[in-house]
Symmetry: C2
């Protein structure tokens, strides 16, 4: 396909669809001059053919029927930007069966149904490209698949959900409650009316699933990702974290430990002098550590019409110039490498605990006694106001401990008659 004409059809004319169309129209000449690829936007399918997206299209380009894209023999690349599982899955399969390459930003679909899609792509000898599915404009897929391909990847830590990061940043900077920060994010269009996927860690887990498969050659393993969102983080936790020198971020973590792979998404305390702790607002960043390259980080806008559109178009160009070829997606087949995925209970981490203690003499000793009996040793304690008989927060930072021990210890502590509410804990990354 090198240097020929490539006709592109887009399915889904929403935010990312509009950004992609705009780039293809505005920068066709630039793209041709730089890459030799003559990329032409031939058709866009969307049920809504009337809304003004501020983009001037020739008559007949925007149509309501996806089949006008899927069945057009002149279209070589189908760009799926509608999101969700159905009918995006059916459209992508239809495109592959019709011999078309596919570009998609649909992390949910790939994370949950990717095995089926990539198997069909291999069978049909077609590309399924997905740079835009993780971290918007940040080229993390290409970095993992190409730039770092001679490295054994040791770990990935990502802030890859802009909504959650915006909410946590608001809570940190302005002392807002979670609910108020969420409302603010919704008002600004950073959070959807139903924000569950973002704030419950599901969106982050979708993206982590793709990154881990690329990094470690494991099959897509969305069901095996531990998922915990930010809904229970309080302004109080953020204050205590700050006092201890940490920021709280929703982090996607995957790493090799004892020959197995950890896959987890949860609020995480990160030392505030770590570079990734400085990534605020809707910005995203992915830290990748390889055995040769060492620690690297990639930072930018993880969402939005133009940054995500930029990533979509980079995939189209890679297909048009032959840089991405069938089978080069990097996602492992289901019979791929046999790294075991580690259970959450075996994760070893430092922990932050916030106990709601009835302030009586000996409370701390009883709590620390339970912790000690589960091999959890304390590195720092904050206990401030002392109002005898009332519940007061006791904050404890631990040395490295095992998740299973932590869960058991918390279960025991929450049954103590000197503890009035369920204990909250947050995992802590970084220095020990």
């Amino acid at each position: 396909m090198n240097a020929g004409i490539v006709n592109v059809g887009i399915i889904g004319f929403g935010t990312v669809g509009s950004g992609t169309a705009k780039i293809l129209i505005e920068n066709a000449v630039l793209i041709r001059r730089r890459t030799g690829a003559d990329v032409r936007l031939k058709r866009i399918a969307d049920l809504d053919v009337t809304r003004d997206r501020g983009i001037k299209l020739a008559p007949g380009v925007l149509v309501p029927d996806a089949n006008a894209v899927l069945n057009d023999p002149e279209i070589g690349v189908v760009v799926e930007l509608m999101g969700g599982i159905h009918p995006a899955l059916e459209f992508i399969k239809s495109a592959l069966k019709n011999g078309k390459h596919v570009v998609t930003a649909n992390k949910q679909l790939l994370a949950e149904k990717g095995a089926e899609i990539f198997a069909l792509a291999r069978e049909k000898n077609r590309v399924v490209a997905f740079e835009a599915a993780v971290a918007g404009g940040i080229p993390i897929i290409k970095v993992l698949r190409e730039s770092l391909s001679c490295n054994n990847i040791l770990s990935i830590h990502g802030i890859i959900n802009g909504t959650s990061n915006y909410i946590l940043t608001k809570m940190t900077r302005e002392g807002m409650s979670f609910q108020d920060a969420l409302k603010e994010a919704q008002r600004l269009g950073y959070a959807e009316a139903n924000p569950a996927f973002d704030i419950e860690g599901v969106d982050t887990a979708h993206k982590l699933t793709l990154l881990a498969s690329l990094a470690f050659g494991i099959p897509l393993s969305f069901d095996r990702v531990y998922k915990e969102g930010i809904t229970r983080i309080t302004a109080e936790d953020i204050l205590y974290a700050s006092e201890l020198g940490y920021k709280i971020k929703l982090l996607a973590v995957t790493k090799v430990v004892d020959g197995g792979i950890e896959l987890r998404v949860h609020p995480t305390m990160i030392p505030e002098d770590f570079l990734i702790a400085r990534v605020d607002g809707v910005l995203n960043a992915v830290m990748v550590t390889g055995d040769y390259v060492g620690e690297t980080m990639y930072y930018g806008r993880g969402a939005g019409d133009m940054p995500t559109g930029s990533a979509v178009v980079s995939d189209i160009i890679d297909i048009a110039t032959g840089r991405q070829t069938a089978g080069s997606c990097g996602i492992a087949a289901p019979d791929g490498e046999k790294f075991a995925i580690r259970d959450m209970k075996d994760v070893v981490s430092m922990y932050y605990f916030r106990f709601s203690a009835i302030d009586k003499p000996g409370v701390l000793s009883r709590i620390s006694g339970v912790l000690g009996s589960h091999n959890i040793s304390i590195s720092a304690v904050i206990q401030k106001e002392r109002r005898e008989g009332e519940a007061v927060p006791v904050v404890v930072l631990t040395h490295k401990a095992r998740e299973e021990d932590v869960v058991e210890a918390v279960g025991e502590i929450d049954k103590l008659n000197v503890v009035s509410e369920n204990t909250r804990f947050i995992r802590v990354e970084g220095k020990e």
Copy 2:
């Protein structure tokens, strides 16, 4: 060349040569499984065939004569890792003439003689790949050439000389003098016995030359880069910068201003809450702003055997898999785009001045009078100790001003009888 056997010959078995050889030997299986490329290290040429680099080579692999690499018909990719202009230039030209692809980490050679090399590569239809030439393990070449290729690049700001960044970090954190920090860097192997290229901004300018050509399609323009190193930065300047909320970094800057391109390397004050201001020690980072993708940043180790080796091997894999093809280097031909390169005198920036004033009444008024007469307005002043009749530092931060005006104003001020030493100034990036 897709999926076939690729025989590699390395010229130069120093730091990066050893790292590259190690990766190719250790990870041949990983590379083949991930990319389909069967990359074999066939020969290494170095005058020193006796020193132990800690790498076990089969007999006959290490030879003293570069011709054993250049003239071997089985070798498809020649990796030039000796550095310097001669004989690296002759070796690369010989390799291209013999029909071999070339991978090099030699920024000096490409920045100064690249036009000749890339012209020959085009003529011979061969690749000259150079990911390792800028920012070591950070894949900034691929990002600019591929990932962001649909963007009009607006600006690049880079910390791309680890030696200078290490020295400035030491001066900042420990209040060291420039000379002491340089000695420490030499002791640790971060600075060469002759550190001129690093601390005078020449190495940074070599790298900036390559980045600007990729970003803006301009011919390689090393001679047009404004170069100012860090040798005149004092611990005092760093203290004042800190007091004003800034860090001092040796920054490579290229951006589009009024349809022209700025190309400049100089110590720069950056607001300390900017992410790039947090990039310390020998670490590198490159911020790239594109019209669609917005602000992005890439961070990692800019030097060292393994990180740079990782970048070299990524180029070898790209050639072996056909992802990099002749003519795709992205460096403009000398008859490329006609962006004008802007003169340094037309640069508009904020400025930090440190005047050595004889502390008499009215000194500040005379200095600010001269500044005002050159359209330079003051945003902050620090004047601390007052010992009448002695020289005291007067520190001034300005609003945006034109370099030409600044140079003229400083010339006038340095002639005032109330000023005892030449005025120092540092350009300031960021918020106004």
